[in-house]
């Protein structure tokens, strides 16, 4: 099903509001929507709500044989298929450009930034390693899927516990969750994506665009940072050209947002750990 373009009236209204320094949902330009995290009964299941955007992340693991050239490296895989549940515009079995972009961004932010210690997933070098799989399900699309998915994925990875293993000589025993306490994954740092949208030749910069704002925007940029102010990924695929100063300005905003979101994730994880 084709996506309906916003009407000229709608477009003009949003732009006029931005020129007056307001957003249609009442947020300030640099505000995120309310972030809600809820955890499932088992480890590694997290549902993230960013305003009306909803993402479910589920982490699972299995033991597989590593690549011969990297005998001690475990695997980290992401599955980010957009289902028609999120928006009727997504079709089954046909990837849209948007979907490819979202998947690549998440992969870049999480995998290539080496957030997860894949060497720590080795059980027996060259024989057995853990393969960690993160399934990201998009349930409701109201803009900014990347940030929501990124928060969901990293929170799920932190929440996840893999079964404990003991290696005696050649024998590998995988203990069930009842036999031994499962172990958390070792995570180096927590990358968080912050997406900006630009309007009016970059005169107006907003954080966390909604679906309507995404349809009207002239360009966007996603900065992935961790709490140590390290840039993990920066993606600006097309859109209007930007001044260098503006990018620096954006990264300064992102630093603050990342600190806020990281603190919220940690608080949510701590509250959940207390309940278990």
């Amino acid at each position: 099903m084709k996506e309906l373009e916003p009407s000229t009236n709608e477009r003009e209204f949003v732009l006029a509001a931005l020129r007056d320094g307001a957003r249609i949902d009442g947020r300030n330009f640099y505000d995120f929507r309310t972030l809600r995290l809820s955890f499932g009964a088992d480890y590694g299941a997290v549902e993230v709500q960013l305003g009306n955007t909803r993402v479910l992340a589920k982490v699972s693991c299995e033991v597989i044989r590593p690549f011969p050239d990297k005998p001690t490296e475990g695997f980290l895989m992401f599955n980010t298929e957009l289902s028609p549940m999120a928006s009727p515009a997504f079709e089954v079995g046909r990837q849209t450009d948007e979907e490819v972009l979202v998947s690549r961004l998440i992969e870049k932010a999480m995998k290539r930034s080496r957030a997860l210690d894949t060497e720590g997933l080795c059980i027996v070098a060259g024989e057995k390693v853990w393969s960690i799989r993160v399934d990201i399900h998009f349930l409701d699309h109201d803009g900014n899927l990347v940030d929501a998915a990124c928060i969901a994925a990293i929170t799920a990875l932190q929440h996840f516990r893999r079964p404990d293993v003991t290696v005696v000589g050649e024998d590998v025993t995988i203990h069930t969750l009842e036999q031994r306490n499962p172990v958390p994954l070792s995570i180096h740092h927590i990358p968080i994506c912050v997406t900006f949208a630009f309007f009016d030749n970059g005169n107006h910069v907003i954080v966390d665009p909604t679906h309507l704002e995404e349809q009207i925007k002239e360009g966007d940029m996603t900065i992935t940072l961790n709490v140590h102010k390290e840039v993990c990924a920066l993606s600006k695929a097309g859109g209007i050209p930007m001044e260098l100063d503006q990018i620096i300005q954006c990264s300064k905003i992102a630093v603050i947002k990342v600190a806020e979101i990281t603190a919220q994730i940690e608080a949510a994880l701590a509250a959940d750990a207390k309940k278990r």
């Binding site: 599955n79 028609p84 349930l139």
Partner: protein, 251 residues
């Protein structure tokens, strides 16, 4: 006998139901249905634009998409899609919306057994939420026969299912349950077990494993009785939702 999940005391007890409707914004109707630790989210879009090759001149095309919790959709999910589509086709008054599409997306949120039943119940709630015209509603319950004790357990968990000799999924519509009450059939008499359940209109029945004919009818009977509770629950859920909507329009 107490159950393996320790929260239930009887073999015929169902896990607590939970449902919420209208939680998604981009779809026309949506619902989540839980059987204890199993949860399915379902969204419905329709009547909507249909692809030319799927277009049916006299009725709506029903498309069901099932997505697993872990991994890519496989044979199991295709089977679930087909089961649900074929059971719903006679229920949905698709003749009212010819040359359109009705898309149903099913997403497993938590898996602790009985996903097919949970999905059926979620789908019907989502269809009601989307305001799709229906002939009747349905209610689904799963049961299993224990390999050792040959006891019939309703709404089993994954742990219990690993000890099953056979599993049975039943879907009943709510029209037949009304009929059997009017026909003064006593649902509670044990010696009329087979007779009562055969009266109920079974919309869908799927059994795997080894079982006798008598066991099958016993399962059908217990699931039919349990499905009454599901029907009641769906009715209350819809009633509450409508009351709330009515109050909002009045305010």
């Amino acid at each position: 006998m107490s159950r393996l999940d320790r929260t239930r005391t009887s073999a015929h007890q169902l896990r607590p139901f939970f449902s919420s409707q209208n939680l998604l914004n981009r779809s026309d109707g949506s619902a989540q249905f839980d059987f204890g630790g199993s949860s399915v989210l379902c969204s419905v879009v329709g009547p909507a634009e249909v692809k030319l090759r799927d277009e049916k001149l006299d009725k709506a095309t029903i498309e069901v998409v099932a997505r697993p919790l872990v991994g890519l959709p496989g044979v199991k999910d295709k089977a679930l899609e087909q089961n649900i589509r074929e059971s719903l086709e006679p229920l949905i008054l698709s003749g009212l919306h010819p040359r359109t599409m009705l898309q149903i997306v099913i997403q497993t949120m938590k898996d602790d057994g009985c996903i097919l039943s949970t999905a059926f119940n979620a789908v019907i709630l989502a269809l009601l939420d989307a305001g799709i015209p229906l002939k009747s509603i349905l209610g689904s319950v799963t049961c299993m026969i224990d390999a050792q004790s040959s006891e019939i357990l309703l709404d089993p968990t994954t742990e219990e299912l690993s000890r099953a000799r056979s599993t049975h999924v039943f879907v009943f519509d709510n029209k037949s349950s009304v009929q059997s009450e009017q026909g003064k059939m006593n649902v509670d008499t044990d010696d009329q077990e087979a007779g009562t359940s055969s009266l109920a209109a079974v919309l869908f029945s799927d059994s795997t494993g080894m079982f006798t004919e008598q066991e099958y009818f016993e399962c059908a009977h217990f699931c039919f009785k349990a499905s009454q509770a599901v029907h009641g629950f769906i009715r209350t859920a819809v009633q509450k939702k409508l009351e709330k909507e009515y109050q909002q329009t009045q305010a």
